[in-house]
Symmetry: C2
Subunit: 745 residues, 2 copies
């Protein structure tokens, strides 16, 4: 008996190994697919990434530059050579560039900010002065202001609450904020809301300078004159060309007048280095900054105001520039009208090696090998659309204008959008639509980490366990499933996911290639190949990961959609919101009681000017039941569908097509045409960038931001909106189930 | 009816107000006592504190200095003038002072450390060079070493675990550690245990320099050349004169040979300023220091080793010096052999205004007014013993030698020991024996905060609520009871509490007078009166607090001992230990599994040299039942006694005396003559300084350190020891109960 058992187990194991499954593929197609993936891996070549990065980063290649156009042409030609139907998609967008930049400290110890990043002999492209965009924030207002300076930490709303308690106003002042803690555009927006007339943003050495690690060229971190450029457009309202919200910025598009555009900053904004920030911060008197506000400069951080005034003068050329997206299609043989879209931007702020070329060259190599395989007989059911976006840095211009311009076609045809951007050594990071979570986990099992030889999923898990905090360890122990993060803002998925409701993923490796080159002249080939991904091994790993994602989506018999993952995740969000509301209530009650009991008055140091906060309105109980009932219904239906999902691979082609239509259209059900409160461009009811965080995602944003901003009616109304959205979604799930359900007769 | 009710309530309220109770006093005596306390408050005079501080801090007054002896004489004369029987108690103690101090960085960028604190024109005593002790660490070894340098963060055991993971050894190296995170003597001790041959300790500007606030003389924080002097004697083994452990260092005491003394450091140790530390830290290469290790200097913190070597040469005069304690007694009229002891040290490292004179002058004013009141008819039942200790800075020398020298008498007579040390603006802080918790809370209700007019208890509560974290807020909400902290090391209570088992309290205000003058030439009258307690209002508040404590203990009919507070606190400690053991087990299991699963190997960055930790032995389950049963018995008996406690005030004088003897002797029951494992001097089974933390207390230390150091047998053995201790203690509680219990017939 024992011997027999052993043999039986052995046979079973072997047969399991042989019958390797891929989600959405029948057995025969899975085997075929896996064979092609093996060939795909074998043909990827790191030398191509290296050569292309050298070419693409050899000169500054920002939106509107000669080199930017040359790069687009270069890539388009390559795509063509690999068999893609390729075009340049041009749009005409507002892109201000600086004419005047003056920042000076007046008074007894005057200082004129240098606003220049010096060339380094160790970095061969850092000296291309005439082609470089100067350091500035795009979509700052023109302005010439002179005022006292106030330090506002990260410049987010909570910092102004703290300033108020200190009795410090920024009204009529220029503020200086540290980079980080929010999308940079939040800082001048909130400063303006509080009455400031100018905004300076600097890179504190604690964040990505010498306190984070050795500075360039000794190490990867920001040297003292390094500056982070960047857009300060109010993207949480809408991204893309400021003059053409919701429509493509074609030559003859109807354009807003500049003075009517809400996404342009109202005050002048300028980014500076920490060397330029030092004398400004030294000029501040007033209270010592709270402990959490202090950075890594050798001084006592004060809040201000400054004894001496600061003069900030900025003027811009408000030009319309042409951007060039590269759009390369490889048509599907069976389902040419189902599109799997892949994108990475190609424009940089200067030479942009890490951001964005590291991701771009990875996408190109992936496209090249797929193209070559198709030439050798690899069949794609669905159409692949490879894109290289322009004007991402200014506010996702290229991708947004293209998505807006093709919205009708995309609504019909787009199955998914797969995004990448900068890439470096380390661990796989992934965010996106939660219907794709089990699908992506299969891929993460299949791609091996180049440094350790274990799967990228195993390595990510090891990192979370070893470097995570105690709570993370305890939560994850043994659970290697990759939980997708929710997507806010930050790269080119917004037009697809949040405007059109196309299921999206964003992929990239990182964690071992940190540095301080971001948006500076030092984000170069030299920097990248020394510190980020020498040998481009993680570039290849990204090609393998994204390439599999594209090919499996293109060839799945049944699209790999999982409604239970979606249900569980959204249900967790609902739980979070209820907890948030309860905690807000408890904290409000506590704080109001403390105010009434005069605890703030009694606790305060009479030598400091702290004010007691004002009592807040009480937090009502909201009715979540409507949403909870819809979620319960979704749960039942999602579970039923998923139980029957595998049946789909056995259906007829016609039935499969019908089923797949539902499966990729289902994300559209999460779109509400009216959009979110105060920002109708954002239509997705589950994922949006935070109105006051920018990069940071707000899930179920209509409800969440209502609670966070204490707009109880808005929160309650949006519970209904989301409940109705979930109902429509569940109806789609039911329709899908009816197709995969075995008929009784 | 309504009217009647109202009158009734009014009458009741008035009678409650009239019948104000003090714990341990019958009604008549309470009234008398409160009247005297009113007079006491009225006579306290801040000008005295100011004048005495000016005198006592006018020159450096360290152990062995001319000014130290002059101060002792000055105070003795004052105590005599207030009616106290006063003597100077001399002891002869080992006190090394520096002969040679050299610290230099060799190699291509040589630097010779200045090791000098410059005079400031804004500080009139800072330039008394000839009288100042140079900056050094007392009880450092002599030595002349040259080696590479390694940065070890705070230099505690956990830091060496991290160094091991980085693959960095300190064997044969000189280490440089930041001040803070432990008592300073731990740093060279642990460095030596790991094979280092020298130790440098510096004050990082993040901790008490410019990153904490404006530096002296603009603000209170440590200027760039400010140095923290201090002892590095291995006090967690035993404090006091290194040559005479356990006995008074009288002229003819038997002394150890210096080479046999275990509390002297084995390697040379030197404290330096952050200006002197900068070039040393800049010389370090090797891995970038972990984020939590980095400080406020403008450089990238590296772990080392340094490229260039460091030369450290130290020689000391190993002299026996005479110390002078001032001992001033005011004999009790009824119970002269029951002593309430009060102490503050009088020696400073240099001019020592905050540390210790701010507390000393508060004690003096308290003693003066009590003395004057006695002259006017105030009767003290018990004897007050006011002490001014010498040689505290070197290792609690004066208080320890006196306690050891008088151990038999103190064991019989000492009711309690009340300690103070430096004092400043802010909030009452109190630690000590938990039997005294309700007693102290009554006092904290009675003393008003000078800045806000609410009680010091209310203000402390307000501060904890406003500035505490969320968990603290939620825990405390509405509960104003002051929880005494447990006493570890740090000032002169050790000889009384931990060696002899005398119930102790340590009192002081703080939290609004932070600075960086500690143990430097800048701890001066000028600094104190600008930044710490201008006008000495908190000095007076301390006199009120400690004075009440002394007078109530002196005159209580029944000593204000509360066994239920003791029970609850110790029971919480037992719970903590069980949790600690369980958490250690879970963490060990988790980490061992992670090691076996090779997660550390997979997660590590191959470009960095991190080592996987080694698996640890599994954590056994320990038998706590013996102790838990004894605790249960204590609970019942403590509750019974406390129910009957008030009866005590109605007993005959003879019965009261019998009861009081039990009540103050009960703390002796917590003493185990064998002492703690590896340090027999520390005999208290509930409170001890941590063997590897120093200042930081370890409660139930025999068990706790057994668990922390994974010595499971020691932990189990000590559960029995503590259980037996609690049994003996409970028997004393029972004896006390039998006295207050109404007889059945």
């Amino acid at each position: 008996m024992r011997r027999f058992q052993f043999v039986f187990i052995l046979v079973l194991s072997v047969s399991i190994i042989n019958a390797q499954k891929i989600m959405g593929f029948n057995e025969a197609n899975a085997k075929l697919q896996l064979d092609w993936e093996k060939q795909f891996d074998a043909q990827l070549n790191a030398k191509n990434l290296d050569l292309w990065m050298q070419f693409l980063t050899s000169h500054p290649h920002h939106l509107g530059s000669t080199k930017g156009k040359a790069n687009a042409d270069y890539m388009a030609n390559l795509f063509r050579s690999w068999g893609y139907q390729t075009e340049l998609a041009e749009y005409h967008v507002l892109f201000p560039t600086p004419k005047t930049r003056v920042l000076e400290l007046l008074g007894s110890k005057p200082y004129k900010a240098k606003l220049e990043e010096p060339a380094l002999k160790e970095d061969k492209t850092s000296g291309q002065k005439s082609e470089q965009l100067p350091s500035y924030n795009a979509y700052s207002a023109d302005g010439d202001v002179t005022a006292e300076l106030v330090f506002v930490n990260r410049g987010i709303p909570a910092d102004y609450d703290e300033l108020e308690r200190m009795g410090i106003s920024v009204k009529g002042k220029i503020v200086i904020a540290k980079y980080g803690g929010s999308w940079r555009g939040i800082k001048p927006k909130v400063a303006y809301e509080h009455g400031a007339i100018g905004c300076i943003i600097y890179s504190d050495p604690e964040d990505d300078g010498y306190r984070a690690g050795d500075v360039y060229p000794e190490g990867p971190y920001r040297p003292k004159f390094g500056v982070q450029r960047g857009s300060v457009m109010d993207m949480p309202v809408y991204p893309g060309d400021p003059l053409t919200p919701g429509v493509g910025a074609t030559k003859d598009a109807k354009r807003l007048k500049r003075e009517d555009v809400v996404t342009l900053m109202k005050i002048p904004v300028l980014p500076i280095s920490y060397e330029d920030a030092l004398p400004l911060l030294q000029s501040l008197s007033g209270p010592v900054a709270p402990a959490a506000w202090r950075g890594g400069l050798p001084l006592t951080y004060h809040v201000g105001p400054s004894k001496d005034k600061v003069h900030l003068k900025l003027e811009f050329n408000w030009d319309i520039k042409t951007l060039y997206n590269v759009i390369a299609k490889l048509p599907g043989t069976e389902l040419p009208d189902e599109w799997i879209i892949r994108g990475n931007h190609h424009d940089g702020w200067v030479n942009g090696a890490a951001d964005p070329i590291s991701g771009m060259v990875s996408e190109m190599e992936e496209a090249r090998v797929i193209g070559e395989m198709v030439k050798k007989g690899y069949k794609l059911k669905r159409t692949l659309v490879y894109c290289a976006w322009d004007g991402e840095e200014q506010g996702l211009l290229g991708s947004t204008e293209w998505a807006e311009d093709h919205k009708d076609e995309l609504r019909k045809k787009a199955v998914a959008y797969i995004n990448t951007d900068g890439n470096s050594r380390g661990f796989i990071g992934v965010g996106g639509s939660h219907t794709l979570e089990p699908f992506f986990n299969e891929i993460a099992d299949a791609v091996m980490d180049p440094q350790t030889g274990v799967s990228i999923k195993e390595r990510r898990y090891a990192n979370q366990m070893v470097n995570g905090d105690k709570a993370t360890r305890t939560r994850l122990m043994g659970n290697k499933n990759i939980k997708l993060s929710a997507l806010g803002a930050g790269s080119d998925w917004s037009g697809f996911l949040q405007f059109l409701g196309i299921a999206s993923l964003n992929l990239g490796f990182g964690g071992e290639g940190s540095g301080g080159e971001y948006h500076s002249v030092y984000d170069s080939y030299d920097h990248f190949t020394r510190f980020k991904d020498p040998g481009f091994q993680y570039g290849i790993a990204l090609s393998k990961t994204a390439g599999r994602t594209m090919m499996r989506l293109a060839n799945a018999d049944v699209l790999p959609i999982d409604f239970t993952s979606f249900y569980k995740t959204v249900n967790d969000y609902v739980g979070e919101l209820k907890t948030l509301l309860d905690n807000t209530r408890t904290e409000t009650e506590q704080e109001n009681k403390m105010i009434n009991d005069k605890l703030f008055d009694v606790a305060k140091d009479p030598k400091k000017g702290f004010q007691s906060p004002k009592p807040k309105d009480i937090v009502p109980y909201l009715n979540f039941s409507e949403l909870e009932n819809k979620m319960a219904e979704l749960k039942t239906n999602a579970e039923e569908f998923q139980k029957l999902y595998a049946n789909g691979t056995q259906l007829s082609a016609a039935k499969q097509k019908e089923l797949n239509q539902i499966l990729f259209q289902v994300e559209r059900a999460l779109i509400n045409d009216k959009g979110l409160p105060r920002r109708s461009w954002y239509k997705h009811q589950v994922y949006a960038p935070g109105f006051y965080t920018g990069y940071g995602v707000k899930t179920l944003p209509g409800i969440r931001e209502g609670i966070e901003e204490r707009n109880w009616k808005e929160a309650q109304d949006n519970i209904s909106v989301v409940a109705m959205t979930i109902e429509v979604y569940t109806n789609e799930v039911k329709r899908a189930t009816s197709i995969v359900k075995p008929k009784a007769f």
